[in-house]
C-alpha cells in the first residue's frame, strides 16, 4: 500500500505506508503540529497508518499541509536515522565529558564544622 492523502469536508486524511515511515515517526511528526491541528490516528501499524487531521483554524490550506507533514516526517526520519547510526560516537563524547568529575566527600575539618552546626541546631530546637 502506497502513501498518499485526500482532502474531504474540511478534513485531511493521510495514508502512510509503515514500511517507509514507522508509527513512532508519525507520532513525532504529529506532535510538532499539535498547536495548529487536531489529529486522530487510526489504521494498522503493520499495514497502513491513517492520520485524520482537522485544523484548529479553518483557514488552513490542507493540501499544502499534507506536503508539509510528509516533508517534516522525512526530516525527522533522516535526523533519527543519523542519530541511530552515530549513537556510539555520541555516547562516547558524552561519557568522556561526564566522567570528568567524581563526588567529593567532606574533609575532617569540614565534618567537624558540620557537627558544630548540628549542636547549634539542637540548642535552637530546645529553646
Amino acid at each position: 500500500m502506497g502513501s498518499g492523502f485526500e482532502v474531504k469536508n474540511g478534513e485531511l486524511v493521510l495514508r502512510i505506508n509503515p514500511e517507509v515511515y514507522s508509527l513512532e515517526r508519525v507520532y513525532a511528526t504529529a506532535y510538532i503540529f499539535l498547536d495548529k491541528y487536531y489529529f486522530i490516528l487510526d489504521g494498522d501499524k503493520n499495514k497502513e497508518i491513517i492520520v485524520k487531521i482537522k485544523p484548529k483554524d479553518a483557514k488552513q490550506d490542507l493540501e499544502k499541509f499534507a506536503y508539509k507533514f510528509f516533508e517534516e516526517m522525512l526530516s525527522i526520519t533522516n535526523y533519527f536515522n543519523q542519530f541511530e547510526k552515530n549513537k556510539d560516537v555520541i555516547s562516547m563524547v558524552l561519557q568522556r565529558a561526564l566522567f570528568s568529575i567524581t563526588p567529593k566527600p567532606l574533609t575532617g575539618k569540614e565534618d567537624k564544622e558540620i557537627k558544630k552546626l548540628d549542636e547549634e541546631i539542637r540548642q535552637e530546637a530546645n529553646l
Binding site: 555520541i90 568522556r96 541546631i121
Partner: protein, 489 residues
C-alpha cells in the same frame, strides 16, 4: 568512601574504553535554518556551528564535501563531522557550554519570608502578609544542607516576599556562611533580592562589609514601574527604588568599592510600548546590564493574566526595538549589555556556560539551583514554590542533600526537560533549555511541547536575530564578542 573509589575505578575503565575506539569520519545529527542574508546556520549535535552558503549546505546534505578542503575543515572544526582527530574538540565544546552538568548545586535561593510590603500587579510569589517567616533553626539547617551539597561554587541568594522584613535571619545566614567558609573555602557569593524600600545605612553597611551583592527590580520608565509595582497602601514606588539605587551606588563610591547594583525588569503588556524609555531609565541610573524578562503566569499574575500578557511575537518585537537601541547607545560609547543575549552569545561565540538555569538541558532546576522555603521545604526552583500544587517540592532541609537531589520526582523532572527529545530540528537546541515549572503551568504536564511553549518560541526568535547579526560580521558581532568574554557572578 569505598563506594566513591569503586565508582572512580569503573569510570576510569569506561573512559579508557571511550578513548580507545577507532572511528571513521562520519556526519553527526545536525540542524539548520536560513538566515536573513540567505546563509544557513548549521549546528552540530554537540554545540559547534558553522555558517554555510546554500551550496555548502547542499554538499553537506549530499555528503560530497570530502573534495572541498575549505568546507571539510569548517565541518570538522564545528564537529558536524567527526573522527578521532576532533573527538577531543567535540568533548571540549560540549563540556564547556554545559559546565553546569559537571558541578553540584551552586545557586541556593533562600526564601526568608513570604511577607511583603509591596503589592505588585504581577507578584509571582503570591505573597502572604504578616506571617511565614523563616526561623533560626530552619536557617541553620538550610546552611548545613547547602554546605553539605558539596560543590566548589556557592551562591546564596535571598528571596522573598521582601527579605529585609526578616533581617535577623538574613544577618544570621550571612555571618554564619562567611564564618563556615573559612573552613570550607568555597567560592562563596551572597546576593540579596529586595525592593530596597527598607534599606538604611546600617543595613547597607552590613551588606557591604560582608560582600553581599544587591539586586532589585525596575520595570522601566516611571509610568510602567508605578503601574506595576505599588506599596500595600497603593503608593507609587519608582522614586523610592530610584533613590535607593543611587544611595547604594553613592555609598559604594564613597568607600571606593568596585560593586554594582543588579536590576531586573519584568516586562508586562504595558511595557511593550516603551522599549527606549526602559533602556534610558537604566542608563540614567548607571546600570550597565539590562535584563528584559517576560512576565510569568504565577501567583497574583494569574488573576490579571489577560491584561499582563502578550504573544511571543509581541514580546520579540519589543525586545528587537530595545536591542536596536542598545546597539545605538553602544555605538555612541555608552556601555550597556542585554543579559538575555549575553546568556546566548556566551555559549555560541565563546563556548562558555553562563550558568543561567533557564537555558540548561536537562534543566538546572533541582540540580544547579535549589530553593529553600521559609518552612524548610526544598523546591527544585524558585518558581516551584509559586504554583499551588507541591509538584516541585523535592524534600526538606532535614534530609541529606543526596536524598533530596536523587529523589524520583526530581530526576523525572530532569529527564522530561532534555531538549534532545522534543526539539530535534532546531539549530538553536544545543544552547537552549526548557523550564519545567513554566511548562507545567502552561501545558499542565512536565513533558514539554516545545513548539507551543511561549518562552522557547521567544528564545528561538532571539537566537535567529542574534545569528543574523553575527552573520553580518559588523559592529554587533564585535559587541557580542565583547559581551561573551565577560564574567558575570
Amino acid at each position: 568512601m569505598e563506594d566513591i573509589n569503586k565508582n572512580r575505578e569503573i569510570w576510569k575503565e569506561m573512559m579508557h574504553e571511550a578513548s580507545a575506539k577507532e572511528i571513521e569520519t562520519r556526519i553527526l545529527p545536525y540542524a539548520y535554518e536560513r538566515l536573513s542574508s540567505g546563509k544557513f546556520v548549521v549546528t552540530g549535535y554537540f554545540g559547534g556551528w558553522v555558517l554555510l552558503s546554500e551550496e555548502g549546505l547542499d554538499s553537506l546534505k549530499s555528503e560530497d564535501f570530502y573534495e572541498n578542503k575549505d568546507l571539510y575543515e569548517k565541518l570538522k572544526n564545528s564537529c558536524i563531522i567527526i573522527d578521532n582527530e576532533n573527538l577531543d574538540l567535540a568533548t571540549g565544546i560540549y563540556s564547556a557550554i554545559n559546565r553546569n552538568l559537571f558541578l553540584q548545586p551552586s545557586l541556593h535561593m533562600i526564601n526568608v519570608t513570604n511577607t511583603c510590603n509591596y503589592r505588585c500587579r504581577y507578584c509571582h510569589a503570591g505573597v502572604s502578609q504578616g506571617k511565614d517567616f523563616m526561623s533560626r533553626e530552619t536557617a541553620l539547617k538550610t546552611l548545613k544542607f547547602i554546605f553539605k551539597s558539596g560543590g566548589p561554587y556557592i551562591t546564596i541568594e535571598f528571596q522573598g516576599g521582601e527579605c529585609l522584613l526578616n533581617w535577623k535571619i538574613v544577618k544570621l545566614v550571612v555571618e554564619k556562611s562567611r564564618e563556615m567558609n573559612k573552613i570550607f573555602k568555597k567560592d562563596l557569593h551572597i546576593c540579596i533580592v529586595s525592593n530596597l524600600s527598607l534599606l538604611n545605612e546600617e543595613k547597607l553597611r552590613f551588606l557591604a562589609q560582608h560582600d553581599v551583592a544587591i539586586c532589585t527590580s525596575i520595570d522601566g520608565s516611571r509610568e510602567v514601574h508605578d503601574a506595576n509595582r505599588r506599596t500595600l497602601a497603593g503608593h507609587d514606588t519608582f522614586n523610592v527604588t530610584n533613590d535607593k539605587v543611587l544611595f547604594v551606588k553613592d555609598y559604594y563610591k564613597k568607600l571606593n568599592l568596585e560593586r554594582k547594583v543588579d536590576v531586573l525588569a519584568t516586562i508586562t503588556r504595558l511595557a511593550l510600548e516603551h522599549p527606549k524609555e526602559i533602556v534610558d531609565t537604566y542608563v540614567r541610573l548607571g546600570i550597565r546590564t539590562l535584563h528584559l524578562r517576560p512576565v510569568q503566569n504565577f501567583g497574583d499574575a494569574l488573576s490579571r493574566w489577560p491584561e499582563l500578557t502578550y504573544t511571543p511575537e509581541e514580546f520579540y518585537d519589543f525586545w528587537v526595538k530595545a536591542m536596536e537601541y542598545v546597539f545605538e547607545l553602544n555605538k555612541r560609547g555608552i556601555d550597556i549589555m542585554e543579559r538575555g543575549s549575553f546568556n546566548i552569545v556566551c555559549k555560541v561565540l565563546n563556548h562558555t556556560d553562563p550558568m543561567y538555569v533557564e537555558l540548561m538541558s536537562p534543566t538546572g532546576m533541582g540540580r544547579t539551583a535549589l530553593l529553600y522555603n521559609f518552612d524548610g521545604a526544598v523546591y527544585s526552583s524558585d518558581e516551584g514554590r509559586m504554583i499551588l500544587e507541591p509538584v516541585f517540592k523535592i524534600g526538606t532541609v532535614d534530609q541529606e542533600p543526596m536524598e533530596v537531589l536523587g529523589s524520583e520526582d526530581n530526576i523525572n523532572t530532569w529527564a522530561s526537560s532534555f531538549l534532545d527529545l522534543t526539539c530535534y530540528n532546531s539549530p538553536f537546541r544545543p544552547w537552549g533549555g526548557i523550564h519545567p515549572v513554566k511548562v507545567y503551568q502552561d501545558q499542565g504536564t512536565i513533558i514539554p511541547n516545545v513548539n507551543m511553549h511561549p518562552e522557547y518560541r521567544i528564545y528561538a526568535m532571539q537566537c535567529k536575530y542574534l545569528f543574523d547579526k553575527i552573520a553580518e560580521d559588523g559592529f554587533e558581532k564585535e559587541l557580542f564578542m565583547k559581551w561573551a568574554g565577560r564574567v558575570i557572578k
